[in-house]
Amino acid sequence: RDTTMAATATSPLLFVIVGKNEPLFEAELTKPTGTSADSVTRQNYFVLHSALDLAEKAAWTTNSMYLKQVDKVNSQHVSTFLTAGNIKFMLLHGGRTEDSIRNFFNDVYELYVKVSMNPFYKYDTPILSKVFDQKVRVSARKYLS
């Protein structure tokens, strides 16, 4: 039981979409279990948000959308993808292949562009669509588990 707790705690999968000012979407793709689950979750969010500054800096050094790994804390990696409108997709993971992360980001990118085309969706506001949430999780299961 202790080893499974450690396994889920150290291979977290947290995906956040960040706009200019605030998070637009959050999904804990793997929920940590056990007694320290809450603090692990908080820690994960913390690592992700502190990687934001690094992502900002890296953004202007390349014109690629995929920024790869912008940060690494202990065994947690943060990979970032930037859309043309500078909306950041950030994934906290315990080590996944670049290809699978790229595939996941591309799937979410297509979903994001479709959401942004909705005349009722205002740019840089939280994405509340449940279908979006479902599809992100399906894509995560497909490429990241």
């Binding site: 202007w60 690629s64 959308m65 409108g85 990118y109 942004s116 740019y123 599809k135």
Partner: protein
């Protein structure tokens, strides 16, 4: 409960309830054989005319009207930026001032107006100012501005689009539309709209970048 409806109504109901996330984005103006991505210019002219009249009855000044037209175009710019970048399938973003301006004056213009902008110029006096010129902007094709509205440019809608693209991409700028008289022999191209008298004015979109944009761009040169 869809089972109680006759089949044709049911198909319509089911089709319209398909989520936008399930529908394909389309490939845009790739092939001119289909009419996908094309809108009739009369439809646009009527719709735009209504938009201008709607705002005109609710404002107290010319600049307020221009500002409203600009904010109407702003959202279009943000969406067009994401859509065109996605459709280009290159997973690339623009990080330099010259490349984002070229993206606007060619890719965005071609996608929205069917042709690239007529020119992209840089101001000699101000390092932060650029001009995009269009000899026949569609927003003012069927518009004649009455004398009491003086300097009004209804092409402010297009300034809004440009501002939306630039802001979204991280290059905040103030964009304004100006009607400038066309000099004799200045425009060598034949007019697109042959049924109308030749235009006396061209639209010049003045793009003035925020200082931090140029500072960042200069830093990237080093």
């Amino acid at each position: 409960n869809y089972s109680s409806l006759p089949p044709s109504t049911m198909n319509r109901a089911v089709a319209s309830s398909a989520n936008i996330l399930d529908r394909p984005l389309g490939r845009g103006l790739r092939s001119s054989s289909t009419s996908e991505g094309f809108v009739s210019s009369s439809a646009f002219a009527y719709l735009y005319s209504e938009l201008v009249q709607y705002h005109q009855s609710r404002v107290a000044s010319i600049s307020e009207l221009e500002r409203r037209l600009e904010s109407a175009g702003y959202g279009v710019g943000l969406k067009v930026l994401e859509l065109l970048a996605y459709r280009a399938r290159e997973s690339k973003r623009e990080t330099r001032v010259m490349s984002i301006l070229q993206f606007v004056s060619s890719a965005v213009w071609k996608s929205l107006f069917g042709k690239a902008a007529d020119s992209l110029e840089r101001s000699i006096d101000h390092a932060d100012e650029f001009m995009i010129v269009d000899y026949e902007p569609i927003t003012s094709t069927y518009v004649s501005v009455p004398a009491d509205l003086g300097q009004l440019s209804v092409d402010a809608y297009i300034s809004g689009i440009v501002a939306g693209v630039l802001d979204g991409a991280g290059f905040p700028a103030r964009v304004t539309a100006h009607s400038v008289t066309i000099e004799e022999g200045e425009n060598p191209k034949p007019p697109i709209n042959q049924g109308l008298p030749p235009r006396k004015d061209k639209a010049v979109f003045l793009v003035k970048f925020s200082s931090e944009v140029l500072e960042r761009d200069a830093a990237l040169d080093r």
